[in-house]
Amino acid sequence: GCGKNDEKASASSNPLAGKKIALIMRLNTGTFSAQYVDGVKKQIAKFGGEVTVLGSDNDLGKMTTNLESAVNQKFDGILLDHGDPNALTAGVNKAIAAGIPVVAFDSALNGVEGVTNLAQNDQKLAEFTLEKLAEEAGGKGNIVKVWVAGFPPMESRQISYKAFQGKYPDIKEIAAFGDASNPQLDTQNKLEAVLKQYPNKGDITAVWASWDEFAKGAANAIKQAGRDEIKVYGIDLSDEDLKMIQDPTSPWVASAAVDPASIGQVQVRYLYQKLNGDKTDSVVELEPVFVSRDMLPTDKVITTADLSQYVEGWGSSDLGNTDVLKQLETDVAAK
């Protein structure tokens, strides 16, 4: 506790209301990030708190700086998104020493005492889609891989990909590319080149896109080239992606993901547990969900908010909720 918040809290009946929370993100653009931020913001609003988003433009140096200035500014709690243990451990230790609880998502801060680590199982995400690909291709064929190194989740997904290659020797990778700076159109242009290189139907069985931004570009290229026999398997799912998967003319047929909004929601809940002084697990696994076109309704267009009705395990996560938190929500709502 710090003195300043006690005064604020006294305005509200609940001691947990009116907290100032910092959300420190490594990447801060794109629909996935925006939905994740939304999840965080909504949940904190439900708890009567206030959130400040510190974006880092994919610069870990800036992220470290943001973390340190959040500690200096004496926020009540800190949320981390896509951090890196080497870069952040020092800052996180400083926060904990200052009594500020930290909950991290996909940051591999498992070595740090007192931090709760949310993780989406990236290897499993990749496995889901790759298995589906292998199944639909009948265990053989030529595939194109769209992937880029340099990002921890990508590197985890690559581990699954390697295993997949070992498991299905008859599935051959005929081309691989990927560029994170202009993911969608670059993929579109490059895949077009590959389609020209393999102009016959059946030359290419499927495209595995390790990121939804890649998948969108790949789907566009295939659709526009009229090569509808090629299927796209992606990872991650935003509202925009969902729309494409639902579209029967789109080559993108399946994706695996954790609901970005519910990641934010769960992360906030764990932070408030810590604020309440509860003992929390140091690792919380968010189970990925596999979504393919055949699971979705054909008669209407849905968003990720409605997805839980069709796909089991999506967005309905009550993970991290406690009675105290439920009470808090009602108190704040009552005000």
Binding site: A34, D38, A175, L185, V194
Partner: protein, 328 residues
Amino acid sequence: MKKHLMPFTFKYGALLFIGLVIIFFSFQNEHFFTYNNITDILRSISIVTFVAIGVTIALAVDGFDLSVGATMSLSTVVTATLMVWYELPLVLVIVIPIVVGAIVGLLNSLLIVRIRIPDLLATLAVMYIVNGIHKTYTKGYSIYNNMPLSDGSTAPGKMREDFLWIGQGKLFGVPFPVILMLIAVIAMHLFFKYTRWGRQLIMTGGNEEAARLSGLRVKRVRTYAYIASGIFAAIGGILFAARIGSGQIDAGAPYLMEAVAAVFVGYSVFAAGRPNIIGTFVGAVLMGVMVNGMTMMNIDYFKTDIARGIVLVLALAVTFIHHNRKKA
């Protein structure tokens, strides 16, 4: 003999070089030199060509425009929101982003021509501002059909089919963006070469003070140049939205450097040593050919950057070694 050879390699060296690159790729892969692949390459460079034409125009009056990438991003999201949020008719969907681009150009020229902040500095500042504006406008979201809005409802509109055709359709078997690009390249080339206003731009770029003392309204000319630069960047943004069917955040950022690279390669075409439209187009083609050819050869993506840099150096070296030998 030697005397004749030199100016020849000098003038056509860069073109020859590009020809060699194309021949190389054609031998590497039979599918490279096909009608479909060539039109694909041209389509893939259509957006960057528009942005690069903007950069060329600004450079013609001796001004560097760093804000084109940001302008393109802004134009992309504005285009998309006009359809998705506001369901406006096609004409407005095209005209409004162009007007927005012109306004950014006007802001640039205000800072450069009136307040006389040096071009690189002014356009850098505008780049920051416009980047901030376009993200603030969409709150960081990309714009797509019936996207959920922050009030919980969904957006009423979709990207219009007729709009998407601009980026994805074909006319007489040629992708429409390629047609647009060729029209723009030819028109701007003729503009610079044969019109009074084109000449005014070039002369202003040559020596602003001398041009002013010859009775040119150089401030006005430079203002128009930056506005044109903004408009071409905006067209790039519109095409981007039409091509991928949504309004991506920060879409234009990578296009700044690509466009600049194309323009710079263009300096060496016909040994101009100056910004010129045909050169810019050839530069864009070279870059597009490189990416396409290397993808077909399945070269690691990180190595393509090296190749691109080396090609740039070689093309420039061909020009400038001679260029300076002539002078010295």
